[in-house]
């Protein structure tokens, strides 16, 4: 591919990927790491332009996921600890109207196995179907569906465990039917 063609292809593909990848990263790491990994992800896409499949986005999520894992490994090596890549560990600078509810959801997600939490994130937040999730994670759509089923079931169980007893129970039950 000539340099001109490379640029044209990248310019046709990359702009639409930036925002989804940013959100993907914002859901999984701190803002500074997200910035770094976004640049790194774009770089990998640029270098692997010949490998980009017709379905850009799941592939790009897979690249971002890999870059994020690398970044977190590097951070651990530098003893800048990121204990768990879950929203439980996210910095609390993102303002929310219903903070308590999100804390609860975050805590419940943190109790799931990481692979179960990840299929839920990809399904609900990235709004991918089982086939696309399979492309991101390197799994069959069937395996994703099974994992999603377990993840939902286990998350509901964790949320029930977290429902506070006593006076707040009623309102919580109202929110978490």
């Amino acid at each position: 591919m000539s340099p001109d063609h490379r640029r044209a292809k990248f310019e046709a593909i990359a702009p639409a990927l930036i925002e989804p990848i940013r959100r993907f990263l914002a859901r999984r790491t701190d803002a500074a790491t997200a910035d770094d990994v976004l640049s790194e992800t774009l770089l990998v896409i640029w270098r692997r332009l010949d490998d980009v499949p017709a379905e850009h986005l799941p592939w790009a999520y897979g690249v971002a996921r890999h870059c994020l894992a690398n970044a977190h490994r590097a951070q651990r090596r530098q003893e800048r600890l990121l204990a768990r890549i879950t929203m439980l560990d996210r910095p609390s600078d993102i303002s929310r109207v219903s903070g308590a509810l999100e804390d609860q959801v975050g805590e419940a997600m943190g109790q799931l196995r990481p692979d179960e939490a990840e299929v839920l994130r990809l399904s609900v937040w990235e709004q991918l179907g089982p086939t696309e999730i399979g492309q991101v994670l390197g799994l069959s759509a069937n395996a994703v569906s099974i994992r999603l089923y377990r993840a939902r079931r286990n998350l509901k169980t964790e949320l029930r465990k977290l429902a506070p007893p006593g006076g707040h129970e009623e309102s919580t039950r109202g929110r978490l039917p």
Partner: protein, 203 residues
């Protein structure tokens, strides 16, 4: 709790819900930063710091390249178009370059990438006037030889880039490479021993 309830709950807890989108300028810079990186260097390869710092002098992203009197190279830059039409000097040939102002992160320069440059030359700055730097080439390593090279900023570029105190100095010698209509910012700069040795090694 139904699956729909669960999804609604999760959506409410989306950490990216409040994430403001990037500006189009920031997106442009991101893309340009990415495309200005050579495609053969592997990520995470630390570059030797001194070379990085010095080679990165021409902190410019995209540049459209016009060759007057020596032909015209196709323009493939992102978001930039030639600032002016080709000017033909009846008496002297001129290579015209226009330079954008976005910052670039440079990976470690390699001889293999520099060797692909379609235009590469060593030149001394003769004048800096109104954002246009005129260089007198002493040697063309690649591309058609012209009598002078003019480097002009595109809209929005920082004044620091051209004519600033630590950028193009009259009388100083620079090494500049361009490829497919783009100035290779990471391969262009003042002719420091590091950059000179890279050019010597390549050409």
């Amino acid at each position: 709790m139904t699956d729909d309830d669960l999804e609604a709950l999760l959506r409410q807890a989306d950490p990216a819900a409040d994430l403001a989108p990037l500006t189009s300028l920031r997106i442009t810079h991101l893309l340009e930063d990415t495309m200005s990186t050579d495609i053969q260097t592997t990520p995470h390869t630390p570059a030797p710091a001194p070379r990085r710092a010095r080679v990165g002098l021409l902190v410019a992203a995209s540049a459209a390249l016009l060759l007057a009197g020596a032909g015209y190279l196709s323009l493939g830059g992102f978001g930039h178009s030639p600032a002016s039409a080709t000017k033909h000097d009846q008496t002297a040939t001129v290579t015209q370059l226009t330079v954008g102002g976005a910052a670039v992160k440079c990976a470690a320069p390699t001889s293999e990438v520099l060797a692909t440059a379609q235009v590469a030359f060593e030149g001394t700055v003769r004048t800096v006037d109104g954002g246009v730097v005129t260089l007198v080439p002493s040697k063309f390593f690649a591309g058609p030889t012209t009598d002078t090279v003019k480097l002009a900023q595109t809209d929005g570029a920082s004044d620091v880039l051209l004519g600033g105190s630590n950028t193009f100095k009259i009388g100083s010698t620079y090494l500049v490479a361009a490829n497919d209509g783009q100035v290779q910012a990471c391969y262009s700069g003042e002719a420091t021993p590091e950059l000179q040795s890279l050019y010597d090694e390549t050409f």
